[in-house]
Symmetry: C2
Subunit: 286 residues, 2 copies
């Protein structure tokens, strides 16, 4: 396979993640082509210098790409994996940025043998979405999970690593099932909690006009991820349903226990739990 | 009552909140005295120029203060309200920064008539605590709730408003019961959720060494408040127990429903709920 600097890279989907990745790859490869659904998005990506060339015509550009990166919602990726293989050139590296990996990797296993698939999941994002929110520094210093298939050749994995390094991230090779289980607790569950907290506040305090005047930074931070793109998150939840439901159930047990301690006459066990969570939070984010 | 610029202000408790307030008041009043439990803290506050004079001797300094602001955990404030009145000069404004107000205001109602009490709750904070974390800009642009008592004279409320303005915050006069109910949903519930999320992650994913490598900004933000000072939060939960338990119960109903929708075969209701929470989040934080 060619080194990255000689590769033509096509990024399919120019939202926050794809637009940011395209912008970050600029200068590290031969050229970056952006494929969008809407002509305005393709034109905007060009105008923002995130891509060398923006288009809506995948048939025109995918055949000459050495690397194709799917940056669409998870279930769109799965549909694309059925549709686009016939457009790809022999030896093409086909990556994706989907947040759940088991179903995508299963679909990748069905690809024709002349394509080299490599699952990807960068651990970054923002609550804003769309090309307007794209930021080439989004990937800096973040972990970028790679889930190779048994069929993925070492040189394709190495090219994937070069892409990760080019956008400033750190590669982490992980099994797709294991990554989905971890992401369920560390990413998808926090999203559901944030949504439920917003809906609770909406139902119980929003009739009080003072509510939004007293909202402090704690509430803002705790609910930030509830602003994430809905189609992206819906696809994530539904393609990782089992692990998400398990994480939610584990959370409920812990939450019920903590609430029970808050109602208890004896305060020592509550203090011990709050101390344990503070200690663990500080260990995780020193 | 004297105008603020002629007042000697004593801040009792030089942690994050008290230290920051003292630093922010500097220059707006005659002098700022800091009272700490430990001599090192008093000395540190002086060295950081947060106070004109730092001491551990409340008996020495409180009698000459025109304004006394209690910046300790809620249950310490309640104990101080029993202990310090005999030390205060006639006409003294006695404020506090406690996050729950009903129990504090009830204790303030018992103060001798020559003291003017005024409850306070600034809507700001950080996950770090102690004088080292003090930041005179902490109160900038934040809402600062004031809960006057029926006995609090208008001029004492006005002096309280001047203090709020001097630290860069916006005063909001609120009934203590109403403030506690709002704070339960918008501040104390998010804290319990953050703690429970940390403990869930600790129990389910922490044995996997990859877990902390893939933790993204969503998890970090959602759990930020779990790093708050434990004694402060314990006092808050236990002095606002009824409202916190009600908020937790309302949350559980909403969360269970959302998790139920995640498991459902039909995806339209889940999409509608995620859309509603995103819309509400964006309305609250445009």
């Amino acid at each position: 396979m060619k080194p990255l600097r000689e590769c033509t890279v096509a990024v399919v989907g120019l939202g926050l993640m794809g637009g940011s990745l395209a912008g970050a790859l600029h200068g590290s490869c031969r050229s970056v082509i952006g494929v969008a659904r809407r002509p305005e998005t393709a034109a905007r990506a060009e105008r923002l210098h995130l891509v060398d060339h923006g288009t809506t015509d995948e048939k025109l550009v995918l055949p000459r790409a050495d690397v194709v990166i799917l940056a669409t919602p998870v279930r769109t990726i799965i549909r694309q994996l059925e549709r686009i293989p016939s457009l790809l050139s022999e030896g093409c590296l086909l990556m994706d940025l989907g947040s759940t990996k088991a179903e995508i990797v299963a679909a990748m296993a069905q690809l024709p043998p002349y394509i080299h698939p490599l699952g990807g999941h960068p651990m970054c994002g923002k609550e804003s979405s769309g090309i307007e929110a794209a930021d080439p520094t989004l990937y800096h210093d973040r972990t970028f999970i790679l889930t190779p298939l048994a069929r993925t050749p070492a040189e394709a994995i190495n090219l994937g690593r070069s892409i990760v390094a080019a956008v400033g991230a750190r590669p982490l090779i992980l099994d797709p099932i294991r990554q989905d289980r971890l992401a369920a607790t560390l990413s998808h569950l926090p999203y559901l909690l944030a949504c439920a907290l917003i809906l609770t506040a909406d139902a119980t305090t929003s009739r009080d006009p003072a509510a939004w005047e007293i909202v402090a930074s704690g509430f803002r931070d705790t609910t930030r991820v509830a602003g994430s793109d809905v189609t992206m998150m819906l696809d994530i939840l539904l393609t990782n349903r089992k692990a998400v439901l398990e994480a939610a159930s584990a959370f409920r047990t812990v939450f019920d226990e903590l609430v029970g301690l808050t109602g208890d006459a004896s305060e020592a066990p509550l203090r011990a739990s709050l101390r344990a969570s503070r200690k663990e939070r500080r260990r995780m984010f020193p």
